[in-house]
């Protein structure tokens, strides 16, 4: 008995504080949030009787909310594809052997160190939607170099505005994905390439059958990391377009406006929906990595 306590007691004591803190402040509050989303607390004070799934029904019948979900989808696809493309491209170029690799790596990674709010303030100006005489930022640049036809309303376009928000996000996080891929490339032993070359593989075959399969776990991590970040996008939109702008509505900005107006129930319902969407991405990944670890 005494021996048993000695062997499992201290580890449990060690883990206990974080378990309690996470239990209360993460899972407990998720529970409170879900509970609030099932009530009719639509004002700062008062209200709060149980209404079941009423808030969720209202949300999915609300055109603006559906539009914000659609925006989130477009944004996520653009952002994930963009960062993967540029991240891979840069990693591949560096892998090919460029002079001053350290310098390039720093240059590409550096944007990640800037906060979304700080870069958003600059991008707000770069992505100014005015055209013609009053054009500023990128539109002005296009006009000055004779590419005036490229000038466009950026994030104020109703259909594709959200893609303009993805541009700064891709700029900021491609370097990070590059670092992931670069580590992946470096982790592939040279013997594998040499063996493939000896067997007469062409350059494309080498990539297709030797390098890509080795990089796929890296790509998966990159997709999950970029994906869950893009689903939670909020600060960049706040800095560029503000919380009420229609063309850049995503669930997180809706949650914010509902929360600041005191509509806690609707805000909580949006939060729960967002959590479910992120869980759809994360949970399969966790299951996958768990299985991988078990296997090895």
């Amino acid at each position: 008995m005494n021996r048993g306590w000695r062997s499992w007691g201290p580890p449990v004591l060690l883990v206990l504080p974080s378990m309690i803190l996470i239990g209360v402040f993460v899972y407990g509050l998720i529970g409170v949030n879900i509970n609030t989303s099932l009530t009719d607390q639509h004002h700062r004070l008062g209200g709060g009787s149980f209404v079941g799934l009423e808030n969720y029904r209202t949300l999915f019948h609300d055109d603006t909310f559906v539009y914000s979900l659609r925006n989130l989808g477009i944004y996520t696809v653009t952002f994930v594809c963009g960062t993967l493309f540029f991240g891979f491209l840069w990693a591949w170029l560096l892998e090919k052997g460029v002079r001053g690799e350290g310098g390039f790596r720093a240059v590409y990674l550096f944007p990640m160190a800037v906060s979304f709010i700080a870069s958003g303030v600059v991008w707000r100006w770069l992505l100014n939607s005015a055209e013609g005489d009053r054009a500023g930022g990128l539109n002005r640049l296009f006009e000055n170099v004779g590419l005036g036809f490229l000038a466009n309303p950026w994030w104020t376009n109703e259909t594709w505005g959200i893609v303009a928000i993805a541009i700064p996000a891709i700029w900021q996080l491609s370097g990070y994905v590059m670092a992931l891929f670069l580590a992946g490339f470096r982790g592939i032993p040279d013997e594998l390439r040499e063996a493939a070359r000896v067997d007469g593989a062409s350059e494309w075959q080498l990539y297709r059958h030797v390098l890509f399969p080795q990089l796929s776990p890296v790509a998966l991590s990159a997709i999950v990391i970029a994906g869950h970040m893009s689903l939670k996008v909020f600060d960049l939109i706040m800095a560029i377009a503000g919380p009420t702008n229609y063309t850049t509505q995503v669930p997180a900005t809706q949650m914010w406006t509902k929360f600041t107006s005191g509509d806690y129930a609707t805000s909580a319902a949006i939060g729960t929906i967002l959590l479910c969407i992120v869980a759809l991405l994360i949970v399969p990944y966790l299951v996958y990595t768990y299985r991988q670890e078990r296997r090895s």
């Binding site: 004070l45 406006t257 600041t260």
Partner: protein, 428 residues
């Protein structure tokens, strides 16, 4: 060795947990430290700029009038008041109200009234003769079911057009012209557009709500506009459709980068001569005067066409929370806020005008003088964009509809969104 290390680790971990628990405890103590006699905690979001200057000036008067009472500044900065409101809501919920708190006068108080969290101040108005010192039409706007719940500290006007006479002249428009309707104004706006200037500058969503409310006021008239908020005007009606059509026409006359700007940028377009007109509340006067522009020479300001003789007001006000730590000191504060001396000091520093008509305003600025004059004789209506006309959830829904319309340009959809918002919020 291992055993000692483990035990040590466990000890450290438990210690950390205790420390965290202690932190939690002490912060909740701080929240209620304002209790006790002889002081009043004043909860505002006036933490910087001219608002802070106004509050400081008001406190100076308060200290003179109430030497024994200590002023405790409970200002919460950030989010143009939305952070403060969230903090306030949680304090009210836990029955820990401040001595008094700032709120926009009018419909923004609805939630507090419905929850029985602020006291009826009608007796105080009676006792101090405030009913005679504040204009009757303002008192009408503040009265809910025969009771008044707050004391206004300052008045702003939202239905103003700011114009650059030089731009008007260049475009062949008479700067001295007055417009008695939207249609007359739109005709001149078209001339300015033809001359290659921005006819009407505007900024992000809330300034568009400000424009919308003045268009509604102009086209529906005072009674029609007031009816929007008490249900006697139908949001889905044809006169509202006409007003929304006018709004669409005006929006087509604005700068295309409006979503990237906030109100000072839009006002700056007029100051710089890039735009002819801008619709904005009278806090804009500080932007003109701050750049040495002279009223009626370098810039003009008059009521939005069709709203002459109407004063679209917004005001800050102070309340007496139910269960205030010391109602006597709260009353002292409200007395100072309402007093002519307090109103004069506060508004001169903040750039607004006194709500109390007995305040001495002889050395206020040139624009303020015209506002003071209109305020005393005009019909007073409540501003939507600034929380006086409708509760905040309704305003949020209207802002969302305006933002959507700015992107889609679909008047029918806009009107049905507005009608839905009215149905949803008027009931609750």
């Amino acid at each position: 060795m291992t055993r000692t290390r483990r035990a040590l680790g466990a000890l450290v971990a438990t210690g950390a947990m205790l420390a965290l628990a202690a932190c939690g405890g002490s912060s909740s103590d701080d929240g209620s430290s304002a209790k006790g006699g002889g002081e009043v905690e004043v909860f505002t979001w006036w933490a910087e700029g001219s608002e802070k200057a106004g509050l400081d000036a008001l406190v100076k008067v308060f200290d003179q009038q109430n030497p024994g009472v200590k002023f405790v500044n409970g200002a919460v900065a950030g989010g143009a008041g939305s952070d403060a409101k969230a903090v306030l809501a949680s304090r009210l919920q836990t029955n820990d109200p401040p001595g008094t708190f700032q709120a926009h006068a009018g419909a923004e108080l609805t939630d507090y009234i419905n929850n029985g969290q602020i006291e009826d101040l009608s007796d105080l108005y009676e006792k101090n003769g405030w009913n005679d010192q504040f204009p009757q039409s303002l008192l009408d706007r503040l009265t809910v079911d025969g009771k008044i719940y707050s004391v206004p500290s300052n008045i702003h006007r939202a239905n103003l057009v700011w114009a650059n006479p030089a731009v008007l002249q260049d475009a062949g428009v008479d700067p001295a012209a007055t417009y008695d309707s939207m249609d007359a104004w739109i005709a001149d706006l078209k001339k300015i557009k033809a001359a290659g200037k921005i006819p009407l500058s505007i900024a992000t969503d809330w300034t568009q709500v400000n424009l919308l409310e003045t268009v509604l006021l102009s086209d529906l008239g005072v009674d029609g506009y007031n009816g929007l908020w008490d249900g006697s005007t139908d949001w889905a009606g044809s006169d509202v459709t006409d007003a929304l059509d006018d709004y669409k026409t005006l929006l087509d006359m604005t700068n295309e980068d409006r979503q990237s700007l906030d109100w000072p940028d839009a006002t700056q377009l007029v100051i710089d001569g890039d735009a002819a007109f801008n619709v904005m509340g009278d806090w804009a006067v500080a932007a003109f005067e701050g750049q040495d522009k002279e009223f009626n020479k370098d810039f003009l300001a008059y009521p939005v066409p069709g709203t002459d003789g109407v004063f679209d007001f917004l005001a800050d006000s102070f309340t007496m929370p139910v269960g205030a730590p010391d109602p006597a000191t709260t009353e002292d504060w409200l007395n100072t806020v309402a007093s002519p001396e307090g109103q004069e000091a506060f508004n001169k520093a903040k750039g607004s005008i006194p709500a109390n008509t007995e305040a001495d305003t002889s050395d206020f600025g040139a624009y303020q003088q015209t506002a003071i004059e209109s305020y005393a004789q005009d019909d007073i209506v409540s501003s939507l964009a600034h929380g006086a006309a409708a509760p905040i959830t309704w305003l949020t829904d209207i802002t969302a509809a305006v933002a959507k319309f700015g992107s889609t340009g679909d008047v029918d959809g806009f009107q049905s969104d507005l009608a839905d918002a009215a149905d949803k919020n008027a009931a609750g």
